[in-house]
């Protein structure tokens, strides 16, 4: 007997992501969780700049397209005046960890009661695949044509671990969309993060390893395999700070 499954109405629209892009899966999971938590008519999104900007045409909720990198600050303002609304930032790795590292870091530092979803595809997707702060050592991008040299560009940043280790955030996890099992686990992380916000426990973040098949020069399937076999070695999947383990 099949179980009924339908894309939530707040995201049931065509969007302009590339074939095999993970964004569509991730935003669908967020909306499924909102629906299941009874919050789908009680949510404001602060959307980043980059491929996440494509949500503007698909997401049927309150939403603001923030300046590049500033979603952490914008969401802070939203949550402070509308504490009973769910406030979610939706950003890529370039938006949240490069140009927006200060705003992302400080929202976590304040333990702001918002949920941050970052889509990590190890490059700047929208502008055509430049190096980002999560680009893997040796990875070729349009601005690291000989492969990323970490000696001069720094090493890929692991943001959820950073805020989990340094600040008393409510919840920090990293998931992936690279297989059905990973997708199911990711949904659990996202739900947990949203519940932390509902319960006013503070800052929650879920980073998602997501394929960028076009800029990686791979088929969608190869891109999923690359996440599973290579990216998860450096970016471990799991929960780094679990609110349920705190007093």
């Amino acid at each position: 007997m099949a179980v009924e499954r339908k894309v939530p109405s707040i995201i049931d629209n065509p969007m302009n992501f590339c074939p095999g892009c993970g964004h569509g899966i991730i935003i669908r999971l967020i909306c499924e969780c909102l629906e299941e938590l009874g919050q789908d008519q009680n949510v404001i999104f602060a959307i980043g700049v980059g491929c996440s900007s494509n949500l503007g045409g698909g997401l049927v909720t309150d939403r603001l397209h923030c300046a590049h990198g500033r979603a952490g600050a914008v969401a802070t303002g939203m949550k402070r005046v509308n504490p009973d609304n769910m406030v979610i930032t939706y950003q890529g790795d370039g938006d949240a960890y490069s140009i927006g590292i200060a705003e992302s870091f400080n929202a976590a530092y304040r333990n702001e009661n918002i949920t941050v979803i970052t889509v990590n595809n190890t490059n700047f997707g929208m502008t055509g695949g430049q190096m980002s702060w999560t680009t893997m050592e040796g990875q070729k991008t349009t601005t690291s044509p000989h492969g990323r040299d970490c000696a001069v560009t720094g090493y890929p940043i692991r943001f959820p671990e950073l805020v989990a280790n340094e600040f008393r955030v409510a919840y920090a996890a990293r998931g992936s969309v690279s297989s059905p099992a990973r997708i199911n686990a990711l949904k659990g992380y996202i739900k947990n993060a949203l519940e932390a916000q509902i319960n006013k426990e503070g800052y929650s973040i879920v980073e998602v390893l997501s394929p960028c098949a076009v800029n990686w020069g791979m088929t969608p399937e190869e891109a999923m395999t690359h996440i599973e076999e290579d990216l998860t070695q450096y970016f471990p999947i799991g929960v780094f700070q679990d609110r349920r383990n705190q007093e």
Partner: protein, 352 residues
């Protein structure tokens, strides 16, 4: 009963009374007392105060509050206002209303702590990317400033723009007797986010900039037509008309009155809105006027550009426009009078 109050404190309390319920910003002299005061005061009225990690974050928190329809405020000075330009451009693009207070200090880059009017061009032209204007109010007294806070929000909400209260370092730091305005009931703008998607938006990539530009042009034309504010004195029979705003506008008024007593036919236009610039005030000027003279606290002369354009619009004669620039501080009456006489004897040449 008027009470002696420091400018920044009076302005901050007036903001609370005007219904401001979110402040976010970063300290910078000479604006800091505004945020210091609000850090204690806003929580008392159920408002949100956030000490941001930067001015950039501060203005973006204001964007968050404004997008939810709340009266949101930030204040800064000099390079702090530079950092806020990105957010002011975003607010203008999203047609969100908010108020930014610039307690102007002198200098490029980091600048100095001296009171000045050097940010005139930036405030009146919109300092961020794109094609927008902010409504700019420039008070010449603490009393005028506290009355303009409410007005700044009303105009911002009427036209869905950002209003800038452009004060000066000295106005923020000095004390004067002031009657504070009454409390207004804080309200939510109906277009604010409430999580229920009652305020529809179109997709980021679905916007039609050509269509939007028509409405934008109409909006700014309406502001220009309806919202020019100024005070003038003695312009109908004047040989020379001074143009000056803020604290220099106040000392220029003193100079004009003394010069009148000495037999010189001079007048004053004191812009209360720097944008829209009060062009209409220039229609009242004596058609035989011999010159327009701006008095400005900056180095290069900025107000003079607008004054020259305004006299060009209102007179077919080629009226010379002079600029008396005093760099920083508030020019004393005697300096303005002495420099006026240099204009008369040809020592100071016209700019246009």
């Amino acid at each position: 009963m008027a009470e002696m109050m420091k400018g920044n404190i009076a302005i901050a309390e007036a903001a609370v009374r005007a219904g401001v319920r979110l402040y976010a910003g970063y300290p910078i002299t000479p604006s800091t007392e505004i945020m210091e005061y609000l850090s204690g005061r806003l929580p008392e009225v159920g408002g949100a105060f956030i000490q941001a990690e930067s001015e950039l974050a501060g203005i973006n928190m204001v964007i968050g509050g404004a997008s939810c329809g709340v009266r949101a405020l930030t204040a800064s000075s000099g390079p702090g206002i530079s950092l806020k330009q990105e957010g002011i451009s975003i607010l203008s693009d999203e047609e969100l209303s908010a108020v930014v207070i610039n307690v102007v200090r002198y200098g490029n880059g980091l600048g100095t702590l001296y009171s000045s009017q050097c940010d005139y061009n930036r405030e009146t032209r919109g300092g961020g990317n794109g094609d927008y204007r902010c409504i700019v109010l420039c008070p010449s007294s603490i009393q005028e400033a506290v009355e303009q806070i409410s007005l700044a929000y009303e105009l911002a909400e009427k036209y869905r723009v950002v209003s800038v209260l452009m004060t000066e370092g000295a106005l923020g730091q000095m004390m004067e007797p002031v009657d504070l305005p009454d409390f207004v009931e804080p309200k939510r703008n109906p277009w604010g986010f409430d999580g229920k998607y009652t305020y529809k938006k179109i997709g980021i990539f679905d916007r039609d900039s050509m269509k939007e530009s028509v409405l934008l042009k109409e909006k700014y034309a309406a502001i220009k037509e309806n919202e020019q504010r100024w005070e003038s004195e003695g312009v109908e029979d004047a040989d020379y008309v001074f143009v000056s705003y803020g604290l220099p506008g106040r000392s220029t008024l003193g100079a004009v009155r003394q010069l009148r007593d000495e037999g010189f036919r001079v007048g004053l236009i004191r812009p209360i809105t720097a944008w829209p610039f009060p062009e209409k005030a220039f229609a009242e000027i004596n058609p035989g006027v011999k010159g327009i003279i701006t008095v400005e606290a900056n180095a290069t002369g900025q107000l003079v550009d607008d004054a020259a354009l305004a006299i060009k619009k209102n007179s077919s004669a080629n009226i010379p426009a002079y600029a008396l620039t005093y760099v920083y501080g508030v020019p004393p009456i005697k300096s303005i009078k002495a420099d006026f006489k240099k204009i008369l004897n040809g020592e100071i040449r016209e700019v246009y």
